[in-house]
Amino acid sequence: MQTLTNRSKAVDRHPMTVWEKMYLPAIAKGMSITLSHFFKKKPTINYPEETRPFSPVFRGLHILNRDEEGRERCTACGLCAVACPAEAITMEAAERKEGEEQLYREEKYAAKYEINMLRCIFCGLCEEACPKDAIYLSETFAPSNYKREGFIYGKNDLLIPDPKTEPELYRKAVGERSRKS
């Protein structure tokens, strides 16, 4: 077959030289490589004790955001659920009642907001779909668990701590980056 392009370049595949046929030189070379690694610094991270920083855009466990006054941002528009390719998000909308203004930012809110973490593929489409600044993927990977039930994350598990009642935790959840800005 003729060449299709003018860029082809044959790989170097010359027959073995006598030197190479003796096995030993190549083996010695290989062994010197492995030995040099023997004394190298190890990149291993002792995981539970040491951790590796995740990238700032890492897509981990979800978190439901609140505004500065501790009101839930989610308005149960359902875009995240639609955008989810795994169909892992379930929510029920409810109308905000009188006297709940300090709880919910908009007139509608999610009475039930569940994510099935086992289904979730952490693609980040829900975060992208959210028009209300409400759902984010955090830099926390989803922990494993013993039972399937442990993976239905309700609002309790997803909501960020209230900045008013639990400022400590809230600050921890917000992390360093936003504090700067």
Partner: protein, 171 residues
């Protein structure tokens, strides 16, 4: 010589006349339909002809058009002339009631599994195929899953509420 779509078409119509129908050029790719009895002949011609030389079967797949009565199932061949770097697309339509299409395995070894896959998905019966049986799905399956009328979802799934946001429907 540059192999243009017009030239290919010209050669084809010279040889097969009216049999070449539905000629289109979506996004520059020559597309045409041939009657299902002729698929092998056309391909053989495209393969053997010195100038055309479509000797590489890039892709073979089935499509199901439930609305087109009498020509519900289609087999789409993508052929490639590597030397001239030209691709063409050839379609064959068949009735869902009698989905018999000649196999291309005698021409292209690569058609073997792709035809099996198409059979597996759409039930298109490739006449003359050496080993036409299901390839991806279990042997016991009694329907052709990619036809539009069959559901996608696994019926045993319990952890999803389809009523939410109107996703229970067909889309």
């Amino acid at each position: 010589m540059v192999l243009t779509n017009e030239y290919i078409l010209q050669r084809l119509t010279e040889k097969f006349g009216e049999a070449i129908t539905q000629v289109e050029e979506p996004y520059g790719l020559l597309t045409f339909e041939v009657p299902k009895e002729l698929n092998l002949k056309v391909m053989q011609f495209l393969y053997d002809d010195q100038e055309l030389g479509f000797r590489f079967l890039t892709d073979l797949c089935g499509v199901h058009y439930p609305d087109q009565l009498g020509r519900e199932l289609a087999v789409v061949y993508h052929l490639h002339n590597m030397v001239q770097n030209v691709r063409i697309r050839m379609k064959v339509f068949t009735d869902v009631q009698q989905p018999d299409v000649y196999t291309a395995t005698s021409l292209f070894q690569s058609a073997n599994w792709q035809e099996r896959e198409t059979y597996d998905f759409y039930g298109i019966n490739f006449v003359g195929h050496p080993n036409l049986k299901r390839i991806l799905n279990v042997e016991e399956m009694d329907y052709f899953p990619l036809r539009k009328e069959f559901p996608l979802e696994d019926q045993t799934r319990i952890d999803k509420d389809d009523e939410m946001f109107g996703r229970g429907g067909s889309i």
